[in-house]
Structures are given as C-alpha cells and as structure tokens.
Amino acid sequence: MELSLKQLGSLIYDQIQNREFPWIMMQSRSTDNILYDPDLRQYVLGDRMIRRHSRNIRHIRPFTQLVWTAWFARELMRLRKTSTLREVYYSARGQRDIEFKHQAESDNIITDLETALNRPRESFNIFPEERSAIFGDLTIEYTVPGYEGRRMNLTEHPDGVMIGPAITSSKFVETTADKVLVVEKGAMFTRLVEERAHERFNAILVHTAGQSPRSTRSIIHRLNRDHNLPVYIFTDADPWGVHIAMVIISGSANAAHLRGLATPEAKWIGVWATDILDYKLPTENLTDFDVKRLKELKGDPRYREELWQREIDIFLKIGKKAELEAFSRYGLTYIVDEYLPAKLDVM
C-alpha cells in the first residue's frame, strides 16, 4: 500500500477538521518486529503496527517533525531538488520547536516517513551522501532536471561514475555485460578499472566503499532482477567483509520495511578464510571484537547455509584475517590475472 505525501497531508488535515487529534499507523520497527524471511531471504518487518498519536504528549513532537519532513520532501519533489540526510537535519533548524537535536533524530523521522508511506526515501528525493561508484558497459538515460532523455555509457569516465541521485534515478537502457562484480574497497575498484576487468570479465564493476549505501544496493538489485546479471561480491577476509556481503544479499535491519534493496541471488566469492590458507596470504590476528562478531554471525539465521558456517569456523580456527590487497604479495595484477578468473570459472 502506497500513500503519497499529499495523501498523508490530507489524512491529517481531515482529522483535525473533524476535531480529532491526528494520528498515523505504521509498522513497528522495533527489534522484536524485525524478522528474517527465509523465503524472501531478507529481513522483513512483522505484523506489529504502532500508532503515532498527537494526543500523546510523548508522540506529539516526533509527529510534528514527521509532518514537517513530509512537507519538506514534497517541496523537494516540487522544486525537483534533492537533499541529503544531513541537509534535512539542518533545514529543520529554521523551524522553532521542531528542530532536531542531532542528525540521528532526523534520520529516524525520515525512516518513519518511509515506513508510513511504504516508499524508500530516495523516491521522495532524500539521498545519502554519495561515495560509491560504478564502471562498465551500461548505457543509462537520465531523468533528472536538465538531463532528461540524455544518455551516457558508464565506461566514459575512467575513474568510474559516482552513484548519486542522477544514476539512481536513471533508466538502465542496455548492457553487454553478463555479470556484476561488487568490491568493497576503492583500491581494488581502481585496480580492476586499470586492468580493464570490465572487458576481461565482461562485467559491470561496482564499488560500495565499505557498507553499501541503499542506492548502490538498489542498483545491484535492479541489474540482477531486470537484466538477469549474476552478482559476485568481493570483500576483505574478515567479519566486516562477511557482513557487507550479507547486507547486499539479504538486506539490512534498518531497511527491513523496504523492498528492492536485497539481492538474494548474489554470491560472496571471496576473500574467504579458505583462500587465506590456499593462497597463503599475509594476515593479521583477529581482535577480540572480531571473534565476538564471528560467534554472533554463527548463530544468525541468515548464515545458516553451509558456505557461511564453513568459512566462519575456519576464521575462528585460524584466528586470522586478511585484506584484498594482500594478494599483492604475488604482484599487483595477480588478483586480476589469477585469483578472479579461478573463482569465476568455478561459478
């Protein structure tokens, strides 16, 4: 069920007009309502609903902030502008009484709005700051003001193209690639571009810059779903990398209220703990925090499958972790010349 911003406004207006204290219902995002759906293979919200009611003295402030944010978003759409999360936080400063105490408060209200409307914030023009990139033979057509109808191929700029509102909102026209390679680190992404990996592997390269932002995940999802491109994820060999891969595959708890951000078919193909042993990579010791994290993951329903359990056990057994760059011990291009082809052949 989708509600447009204007409808939300009408709803509230009518309630006041009828001498009722306005309220809205939305799915509860508390931890006891975030569930892993094994069929969908991602986090979803359960059935519990909450009511935010302006008669309740504890709710009235976030309620007011929600209405303001909805209006602000609609203004963005009307003016065909985008805003980052932080800009929303600052924009509220112009309003007495409802200004946000810190950005977390503002981010939370925006998420509330997403939940209430059942739409991701990017659809009402609020974007995070850009930091991930994409490179490869994909032709896109812009929809942003001033660029409507214009097309671009994503091999045009050798540094890769930043994934921002323009890319995220563009139409994917055509591609000759037959896979997507996702890497978490900038150094590896640059290495791949320099080595013309997009030609050698016929792939679209995506750099997530650590934990992938929602826009990036949504692009990966679209390439997989709409263009049937298999997705292969390369991260460092450590619990953090494991988690980055899993978020791309089955989504994050924070976005449990949204769809279209997870790519359950995506595969994590390295760097595994097994690879550390097979390739005798230079390593570091796992910290106590790493060990704690691995143990948590072991019990997490998403990591039930054999691959994850096996790799987590090996990490714990060897007590070591390694970065993608570690392959440089065999030469700068080893990773592209030997490692990747070996992995992809198996797929």
């Binding site: 009235i60 007011t64 209405v67």
Partner: protein, 527 residues
C-alpha cells in the same frame, strides 16, 4: 582588716546597675529596647480605651559622631487612655509603679512600662523627660527626672494646658545615647512585625534621616480585652498562698479555696482538702507553715481542678492575624496563608493559647532567599533576638518533618508563632526566647502540623497546575505546526483550526483551566 560595707539599694538603683536585664545592654540594643518599651505601653493604653491605636514615633539625632553612639531625641505619642495627672510622676518616675500588676495577659516584662527607658535616657544624657498626657480633661505636661537612689520622681516643671479638642493620649519625649545605624534594621523589623500582629494599629515612624515609615491600619477591629482572673491552684506558690491566707475573709478552708481560686467547685474543694489532710471546716488563720507548704504541694499534683480559665488571655484571633500578615508580607490573591488558633492549654497552671500562621507563595519567594523564615510573638509583641535558642525554633526545625508536607529545603515559607499567656515562659530575663516547656512545645507543634496539612494540599495542587500548564504549553506549541504543515502538504490552503483540540486538552481538568492564568508558577522542576 578591710571593712565590709552593707547597704540596701532602691529598685531603680538596681536597674541602673543591671540595665541589661531589661534589654539595655549596649547603645544599639538600647534604642531598640527604648522604642519597644514605649510602643508596647502605647498599644496597651489604646486597647484599654478600645480605640484603634495611632502611634507616632520620632527619632532625631541631637549630636552625632562619625562612628559609634550618638545622642538622640526619642518621642512617642499615642491616642490611648492617657494617665491621670496625679499618677503621671510615679508612673514614669518610679520603678515598679503601674497598672499592670494583676493576673492577666500583658505586654512587656516586669510591667515597668517605660520607666526603664526614662532611666536609661537620664543616665546616658542627664537630660529630663517630658511627659504630656490627658484623660480627656486638661492636658498635663511634666518635665521630670528620676531620683535613682530613692526610686522617686523629681518634678522639674508642671504645666497645665487647655484641651479644646478633647485629646486623649500620652506623649513621652526623652534623650538617650544610642547607635541608630546599628539598630535601624531591628527597629524596622520590630515595627513591621508589631504591625503584623496588631493590624488595627496605625504606626508612623520618622527616622533620624527624616524618612517616614508608615505601617497602615488595615482594620478597625480590636481583639477583646483580657479579664483579670483569680489564680489557678496549679500555679500557686507558698508566698502567694500565705498572703492570701493573711488577708482572707473566708470563714473556713472550703470557702477559702472556692473564693480565692478559679477552677475549684464545692466537691473539688472538699476532695482537695482531704488529699491535703486539712479539714474543710478549719479556719484559714489556723494554718501553720507546714500546712501551707503541704497545701501548695498537693495543689500542684491534684488532677481534679477544672482547666484554667482562658478569659484572662487575649489572643490575636485568626481573622486579625490573617489581615496583619497579608498586609505586612504583601501577600497576593494567589499566595497561601493558613492561620490556626489552638484551644487554650496550660503549663504549670498557667493558661496559654498558641496561634500559628504559615505563608507561602510568590510574595514570600521574593522576600526571602528560600527556606523557612520564622516570626515569633509573645503576648502580641515580636521577639527578634535569640531565635535559635527557643522553643519555636526547636518546634519548627526539629519537631516537624517538613518533607511530609511537600516542603523542601529551598521552599520559601514564612512561619509565624504567637504564644499568649499570663506568664510567658521566657528562659531567662532580658532574653527574647521562650523555654521549651513540653506543653507549649506540643501545642506549637500540633498547630504547625495542622497548618502544614493545608499547605501540603496547596503545594500538591500547585504542582498539578504547573504540570498541567506545561502539558498545555506543549500542545499549544506543536498543534499549530501540525495544522500548518498538513495544510501545506495537502494543498488545502488555510490551516484547520486547532482550538477544539486545545479545548479538549484543557477541559480534562476544569478548575485548572480557570486557574492557569491566575496562579503564579512557584513550583518548579519536580512536577
């Protein structure tokens, strides 16, 4: 071998040598004591006449010095009964001559009525006193001094003047050494607190700088006069008993007991005499010294006398006390004031009545730094010194747990305690605090508790009101914005009215709705 000299001294000589026991211990205290003696005298005189007192006080500097004591002229005028001409010299010029030696409530210690003040003025300035008075007829003016050695007046000049306007009253003018700058705060407090418990008095005070302090009268009502009563057996001592026996006309002891004491009926008299092993038929003149001692001892322990008669007492009364406190503490309509008058009680055979007042509110907060300000009164005169030594301080600070009445350490409170009795239990002479007699302490504590219960209700209500106001504030702040942005968001034009919603919120506590504008917010934080 040194000669030991023996002599007797007159009462005035005694006070001359020991003036600090009457409060004249140093120059600054002396001015306070002087004004006090004369003001109390005037108040009594006016009350006897049943007139609302008009009292005029003036202090003028005669010779100054840079620092320390100077000579001042002190003049006090009242519209009381006046003193008959033939009594004036001895009333003011002789120690222990006056109208206050009967058993009823009276202001002032020793009943000296101003004579000590005149004595002090004389010994520090060697100037005479001028007394002007009339009881309705001619006005008599005496310029006189005291012969201290022989305790008698020395008249220097006596003038008689016509009294066309029929003025009644007394004016006393004398010079004395004092330190006004040191005592001015206390003097002001004394007059203000006097006005508090005598709101029917109109007091004008002109200080050496020419400033007028006017304590306006707020009512014409005067409390009823105390009536002289017979002593109660519990409070009798051997000497008084002996004197009564010496002058009695009773034919037997039963008649004696019934006639000279209060609270003794016929059956009680017989029962008591039996307990004291004296025959009811015995003649009073037949009593020997051991009999008298035994009678007095038995009287103290005997439990069946009627309670002492309180008609010898004149409490301020709840209405007057309220009027006075409201006036002098500037209480507004929203401030809290509760006055409690206890029923008469006794200690050691002396009747007493306790009256208590508690005030709280914005006006009190403005005048104080937080915490409890104590006002003490005995027989309608303020006590200003030695606060922490007395029973009132003990009752307020030790016997009451203020936290149970929702009073914290910072809550600004004014607590007034008045004890009236035929014998105020002063701990020592010349001091301004009352001893902690258990009965008196108990009465004060119970009165305070009773008033504090009302205070608790008031504070609880104030907290509730403050909380309601904060709640209403929140809705008043956010609802308009919700309305505004919902209208903008839905392109509907004007924002819908939120008045019905605000009305719904404040209607949940109807009396709050009215009070919210009136009651000042004096409770913060812990609502």
């Amino acid at each position: 071998m040194t000669e030991v000299e023996y002599q007797s001294i007159s009462p005035s000589d005694f006070f001359y040598r020991n003036r600090e026991i009457a409060g004249f211990s140093n120059p600054s205290r002396a001015i306070y004591a002087a004004v006090r003696e004369l003001v109390e005298n005037s108040l009594d005189a006016c009350e006897v006449r049943r007139t609302p007192p008009d009292i005029y006080i003036r202090i003028t500097e005669v010779t100054g010095s840079e620092a320390g004591p100077s000579i001042y002229t002190l003049r006090i005028e009242d519209n009381g009964t006046g003193v008959p001409s033939e009594h004036i010299p001895r009333c003011f010029g002789q120690v222990f001559y006056g109208s206050k030696y009967t058993l009823k409530q009276a202001r002032g210690t020793f009943g000296l009525g101003g004579t000590i003040t005149i004595l002090y003025g004389q010994i520090t300035t060697h100037k005479p006193v001028r007394i002007t008075s009339s009881t309705g007829g001619d006005i008599h003016e005496y310029v006189m001094m005291i012969d201290i050695e022989h305790n008698r007046p020395m008249i220097l000049k006596h003038t008689v003047m016509g009294n066309r306007k029929g003025w009644k009253g007394t004016a006393v003018e004398l010079q004395l050494e004092g330190d006004y700058s040191r005592s001015r705060y206390r003097l002001y407090e004394y007059l203000k607190q006097t006005a508090m418990v005598n709101p029917y008095a109109d007091i004008n005070f002109v200080d050496p700088r020419g400033r007028l302090y006017h304590f306006e009268r707020a009512t014409e009502k005067i409390p009823p006069l105390p009536k002289p009563v017979k002593p109660h057996p519990h409070g009798i001592d051997v000497e008084t008993f002996r004197r009564l026996v010496a002058v009695t006309k009773a034919r037997n002891m039963k008649e004696f007991m019934r006639g000279h004491f209060q609270g003794v009926g016929p059956t009680t008299a017989e029962k008591f005499l039996k307990a004291a092993k004296i025959s009811p038929k015995a003649k009073p003149s037949s009593l020997g010294p051991e009999d008298i001692v035994r009678l007095v001892r038995t009287a103290r322990e005997f439990k069946d006398f009627k309670r002492p008669d309180p008609s010898c007492l004149s409490p301020i009364g709840e209405e007057l006390l309220e009027t006075g406190i409201r006036k002098e503490l500037n209480l507004g309509a929203g401030d809290f004031l509760k006055v409690v008058q206890r029923k008469p009680a006794t200690y050691l055979g002396f009747p007493f009545i306790v009256e208590v007042a508690i005030a709280h509110g914005r006006s009190i907060a403005k005048q104080s730094r937080g915490g409890i300000t104590i006002y003490r009164f005995a027989n309608r005169i303020p006590l200003l010194f030695d606060e922490s030594s007395g029973v009132v301080w003990k009752a307020v600070n030790k016997d009451i747990n203020w936290a149970t009445y929702k009073v914290s350490a910072d809550t600004p409170l004014a607590v007034g305690v008045h004890v009236c009795s035929t014998k105020i239990p002063y701990k020592t002479v010349g001091k301004e605090y009352m001893a902690d007699q258990p009965e008196v302490e108990r009465e004060i504590t119970n009165a305070l508790r009773s008033a504090a219960r009302s205070l608790r209700l008031y504070i609880a209500r104030s907290i509730r009101i403050a909380r309601e106001r904060r709640r209403l504030d929140i809705f008043e702040r956010y609802l308009p914005k919700i309305a505004e942005f919902s209208a903008k968001l839905s392109d509907r034009g004007e924002a819908p009215s939120i008045e019905p919603l605000l009305a719904a919120v404040s209607a949940s506590l109807p009396e709050v709705e009215k009070r919210i504008r009136e009651v000042p917010q004096i409770v913060e934080g812990n609502g």
